[in-house]
Structures are given as C-alpha cells and as structure tokens.
Subunit: 415 residues, 2 copies
C-alpha cells in the first residue's frame, strides 16, 4: 500500500479548521472519552503489541523492553491523557493588547499551529501523548512512528479515531501513517502545503535526518550532551550527589549528564570522591590526561570524539580544566545546547556561567535532570527543544500554539 | 574569489559571543557612531552605488530606481540607525519566573539568537537596516545581497565594520558575502553549524528558493495576497475608502490588497462605486463571472490563477461571494496567511471572520496596509513573518531574540 500523503494532509487541514473552533470543555470531554476507550481496549492493544514484539528480529533487549506494553503501562497512558485534559488550554489567551497611534485596537491571540507532523521511534506511548497534546492545543496531527511498533500504533490510533467520530469531531484530527518506507518518510518531511511544523522525537540520528531532509519547519528536540562543571569553590559533597544523580538516575535520557569538568584546584581531592561514588553504579569513567593522572586505573583514557558523544548509558567522561573560562569554552564548543550546570559557591562564577554558556537551560547547584516539562511545572511535554527558534527547552501546550493579531478599527486608512 | 563560508561562520559565531555580553548603552553608542560614519562616507557610498547602476543591464526602470541612492536616502538610512538605537533593548528581559515544586528558581531570560543569515534582493537600505537591528539585539549577521547592489553593499558594510573595529567590537559581527554565485548561496543556506536562523527578504521566488533549499531554520517573510471582504452590512463609503487605500497607497508592498470579495447582497450597489474610485488611480480590475455582469467593460475577466497572484501593481481582482462562509473559505484557500480584512457593521460577522480566517493579521474595518512594524508601534521591522513558528506578523527586535532558562538551586537532585 502506498499512502496518499497529500490526501492525508488535506484531511488533516480540514480537521484542524474544526478543532480550532472547539471549546476547552468540549476538548476535555473528548480527552476523557479517549482515556476511557484506551482502558476498555486494553486487550486489543496488547494483542497488537504482542504481534509487534513477535516480529522484531535482532533488536537489543532494552529496545524490546521499551516497546513492550502491559496492562499497567496502558492504564498509565490513559492517565496521561486525563492529565492533559486537566491542564489549562492555551488557545484563545491574549498575550498582549494595545492601541496604536492610528487608533487601531490590536490584540495578540494564541491560536493552534494547525497541522503538526510527528516522526518518532519505537515507544508506543508517544502516539498517545502526542495525540492528546496536539488535540488539547487544537491541532490536527499526522504521526509517523517506527516500524517496530507499527501494529500497536495503528491500533491505538484506531481507538482514538473511533472516539473522535463518536464525539462528532473529524477522525482525521489524528492520523497514523501505516507505510514505513523511506520514500514515504521523505515525502512526509516535504509536505509543506499541509504541515505547519514537524517535530522529530528519538535518536540524534533520526533528528539529523529530519533536519537535513525536511522543507517543513522543524523543531529539533532531545539531543543531549550535558556537562556539569565543578568549580574550585564548590561544596564537594553537593557536587558529588549532583553528578551521581545526573549521571545515574536515568542514563538513557537526554538531560542526563554525559561529561564532568573539574577545576584543577580541587581535582586531586574531588576526583577520587566522585569516582568512588560513581563506581557504586558501575559507571565507566573516561578521562583526559590530567584526570587519568589522578584516577589511574579507575578510569580509561577518553578518545577525541568522547567529548561530542551522547552515551545514554552508564559512562561519563571527565576533564580537568584550568579555569571557569576554560570550562565555558569547552562547553560552548561541545554541547548540544541542552542543559549545563555549574556547582559553585561563588556569586561571580554563577553569573558568568549562566550568562555565557549557550544552552536552553543553565543550572547553578542542581542536577541537569530537572530539564523536563513536568519538573518545570508545565504539566506535560511534547519534547525538549534544543534549537533557538519558536521554543527552547521543555515544550508544553503553549509551544504547540502560535499567535494571530486581531486588529479592530473604525475605518482607518494609511496616510 | 571563492568565499570560505565556514570561516565566515566561525568568525560570526565568535563575534556573537562578544555581542551577547555588550550592555545596551555600549550598543547604542556604537549605533550612533555607525550613523555618523554613514553620513561622513556619503560620497564613497554614492560612488560605489553609481558603479553598480552603470553596470546593471536590462533592468526595469522601477528596479533601477530602488537601487539608486542619493545623499538624502543615505541620510535617511543613518537616521534609521539612530532610531534603532533609541528602541528598548529586548536582551536580558525576563519573560517569566517561578519556583518549582523541587524549590528551583527558574527564570526565562531573553538572549540573542546568535548568528543571523539574511538573504535579500536589490535594495541597499536592507543592509543597513538589518545590520542595525541584528546588532541592537546582540546578534552577529552574515548578509548576502543581490549582485546588482554588490558594490554598494560592500562599501556600506565596510563603513560599518570600520566603526566596529574602532569601538573594540569584532568587525565580524557584520559580514557581507561578496560572491554572488548560486553555489555560494546554496552553501550559505546549509550552514547549520554556524547560522541560527536564515531570513530571506524579497520576492516570493527568492523566499520559495530559500525554503526549499535551506537546512538552517528559516523565517518566511513577506509574500502577500491580501483580501478585503465587503460584507452586506458594510458602510459602503468606508469600504470604498479602505479598498482604495489598501490597493493604491503603495501597491508594490506585501500588505497591499490584491483581492476584493463582495457580498452578493450589495454587489449591484457597491461594485460601480468602487470601480469608479479605483479608476481614478488607473487600477486595472479583473472580475469573476458575477462581477463581470455588473461591471461589464469597466473590467476584464480574471483567469483562474489570478486568485493566487500577488500583483504588486495597480491591479485588483474582484469576486462576488454568496455569504460570509464563502468569503472565509475562499480566503483560507487562496491567501498567503498575511493580512485579511472584513468591512462590516455586524458583530457576529466580525467575530466569525477574525476567528476563522487563518492569517498573521485579521482586520475589522481598517486597511490591510497597517501590517507593519512601525504602524504596530514596534519602532522597526526586519520583515513580516507569514509562517507560524517563532514569529507571526511584523517582526521587531524581540523576534530577533530567543530565551534561555536560568535555574538556581541549592543542591537539588531528582528523585
């Protein structure tokens, strides 16, 4: 089957026109129905998921684990939909308003983006999450998931679409591409007549492919190579706790720490401390020359490309730096503009670090793991933007909207 | 000469790091020096400009006019730079701030985008405008103008760069690409390692080329196919004034009206009125079947592609519509999402039009010509965005910035 993306796009655009006019309470009611339907259809979804798992070949166990659903995970997904329903609706909010010299009354009003394209990899919960967030913010969505979860994704989207139809909302507000070929992906990334934005979620590789091939505007998400810099004035016990937390609390995610920079003034004292603490979690340590001299056999030498690598694993690379300036330069050269932290007691150093490090989130004395829509208090998250246009950092519902200027006059013409 | 864009990009990035740390008063002082230098160098700039004009061949007179500078135009450019200096600096403003459940103090702070790429056509004033706006917002800029104005642009950028050096700011904050080949343009649009955003200014053709070829994030600007819908309840005299103003006050710009939609209930009465008024400005009228029946020989039949054409000229196409719904559908199908107006006395129709028309700016009872950074009160404008990401509508200094989350903790780790 070759999918007709142009037709899907046109249907999505039509559906978006309807969605933009729904009231918040209508949207919340439908989201509640979707949550209920996911719970009712738990057996059907599990069946589709088991089919997907049976047909994966040569996949690493950790990826199979991510792909695998059980009753509890589906109920968690449904609960997530209810949570999205409970969030404030950004649509219709006025960002600002004023009267111009010509006497025009201008208001800048939040409106949905229109049609959102999502490209993502195996996790089936992304389907439900994305559909709920796009729906709540008044957008139609076209989803393109990985082939490993295809049947699960199709089943989940069918459940959602059935609810939409029953609630007199166009089912095409949520569409899943069922063809996983490269050609279809390519066409999808260039569907400029219908897609207002494309959001890739997944590996650095996936995201780079989308950035390189898309003509639709893209929001880059999720590539992380986060650093923690331990300043010579740091509380070393705090620094140790933060490094261990940022590295090991969940190493597979983009806000985990991948690199540790340590001031030479305290390296002799701090490195053995932190190495001992990391060893309890079986973290592999890779070191530059100076750190090697201190840690010896507790570490292995880092290669040049280590400084640009996102491990997503129990690995950390450590470098001893001469000064705050060196730390900032190293970070600005190697980071992915995601999340960076300094551990310090110095007022001056905290200001210089936060002013000069170029990243979506810069921390003083806290773990980089807090870069997250829920931790920020947004209630939900569609991804973490590492680009500078439109949205930077955790993206919630507001970031799925744009604005429209509404201008009220009484006959004004321009002189 | 083949330019080394990678080197230019690296220098721009380095310069951007410096610019981001300049205080508002430092930036304003330098802008004042740039204005002065433009006035002092008026003869040199005119010489370069005359060289450019002498070497244009086969160019339409109106384009030669746009390209031609005189003393007054250069002084106006300098005055524009002083105006930019007088505007509030968006950099460093806090958009919001709050404390999270974990006790982290988060503030969202405005910071420069970094390095901005501009691709534009003949008008040399764009060089000065863009350099001033980018500089004030703390961004480095790499400019790529049209070949017709090459020597003028190079001279102007030299004047600016000399001031920067004299003021101990890296001259590479403002760079002009001097190679106008297609290959260099292509490479420029894909300079993702160095450019944070690319802003094309010029014809629809130029903008489409950039959107199709760029891998750097693009902000689309300026394509206009603006409609005025005259509702059956309209004050017809007001409607007539607004149509004439929106069409003829400056037909070459993107916020000029290109299409007139008229409710069938008042077409018989209104069309002859507006045709007479437009004829005084020698506006050519192109009509659909129903409007033809009313206007007869005062108009010529519109072709199908007229409804999608931006004339930028003394031409307007007129269509009689059955209802408000028809008008909205026609606009949403054919507009470029720029500026759309309804002329009405009906509260209900004004709400439906502004809610349902998809455009950056929707007007009730005013001319579309007000879509403009100056008219909006932004004090300056780098373009009018017709896309939905990052910025929509007139873009001032704020739209040349992004945000950074600064997160202050006291040892928080994630549970």
């Amino acid at each position: 089957m070759i999918e007709n993306l142009t037709e899907m796009g046109a249907k999505a655009k039509q559906a978006a026109t309807n969605l933009a006019q729904l009231s918040t309470s209508q949207k919340n009611k439908i989201l509640a129905e979707i949550a209920k339907a996911l719970e009712i259809n738990v057996e059907n979804i599990l069946q589709a998921n088991q089919y997907d798992i049976k047909h994966t070949t040569g996949m690493e166990q950790k990826f199979v684990d991510r792909l695998t659903l059980d009753k509890e995970r589906i109920f968690t997904m449904a609960e997530g939909v209810r949570q999205v329903a409970s969030l404030p609706d950004p649509v219709g909010k006025l960002d600002q308003g004023w009267i111009t010299q010509a006497g025009l009354q201008i208001s800048q009003k939040r409106v949905p983006l229109g049609v959102i394209g999502m490209i993502f990899e195996a996790r089936p919960n992304v389907t439900v999450d994305s559909a709920a967030l796009c729906f709540k913010s008044g957008n139609a969505v076209i989803l393109r998931g990985g082939k490993e979860a295809l049947h699960t994704n199709i089943k989940v989207s069918e459940v959602i679409r059935t609810v939409l139809t029953a609630q007199n909302v166009p089912a095409d507000a949520v569409q899943m591409i069922s063809e996983t070929s490269h050609e279809v992906a390519q066409e999808f990334m260039q569907l400029t007549d219908y897609l207002d934005v494309l959001i890739p979620r997944g590996s650095a590789n996936l995201i780079q492919t989308v950035v390189k091939n898309a003509t639709v505007p893209v929001i880059e998400t999720g590539a992380g190579n986060c650093h923690i810099y331990v300043d010579e004035t740091a509380d070393l016990s705090m620094a140790c706790d933060i490094v261990v937390n940022a590295k090991t609390q969940r190493p597979s995610v983009c806000n985990a720490a991948e690199k540790l920079l340590v001031s030479k003034e305290i390296a002799q004292q701090f490195l053995p401390m932190v190495a001992d603490a990391l060893r309890k979690y079986n973290v592999e340590i890779r070191t530059d020359q100076k750190a090697s001299e201190i840690l010896g056999k507790r570490a292995v030498p880092a290669a040049t490309n280590d400084w640009d690598t996102e491990y997503n694993d129990y690995i950390i690379a450590i470098k001893v730096v001469d000064s705050l300036d060196d730390a900032i330069d190293h970070i600005n050269q190697h980071n992915t503009k995601h999340s960076e932290a300094i551990i310090t007691k110095s007022y001056q150093h905290s200001r210089e670090f936060t002013d000069r490090v170029d990243a979506a989130c810069v921390y003083v004395n806290a773990s980089t793991r807090f870069t997250d829509g829920f931790e920020f208090g947004f209630g939900a998250e569609i991804g973490i933007s590492t680009q500078k246009l439109h949205a930077r950092g955790p993206m919630g519902l507001k970031e799925l909207t744009t604005t429209k200027y509404v201008i009220l006059g009484n006959g004004q013409i321009r002189e």
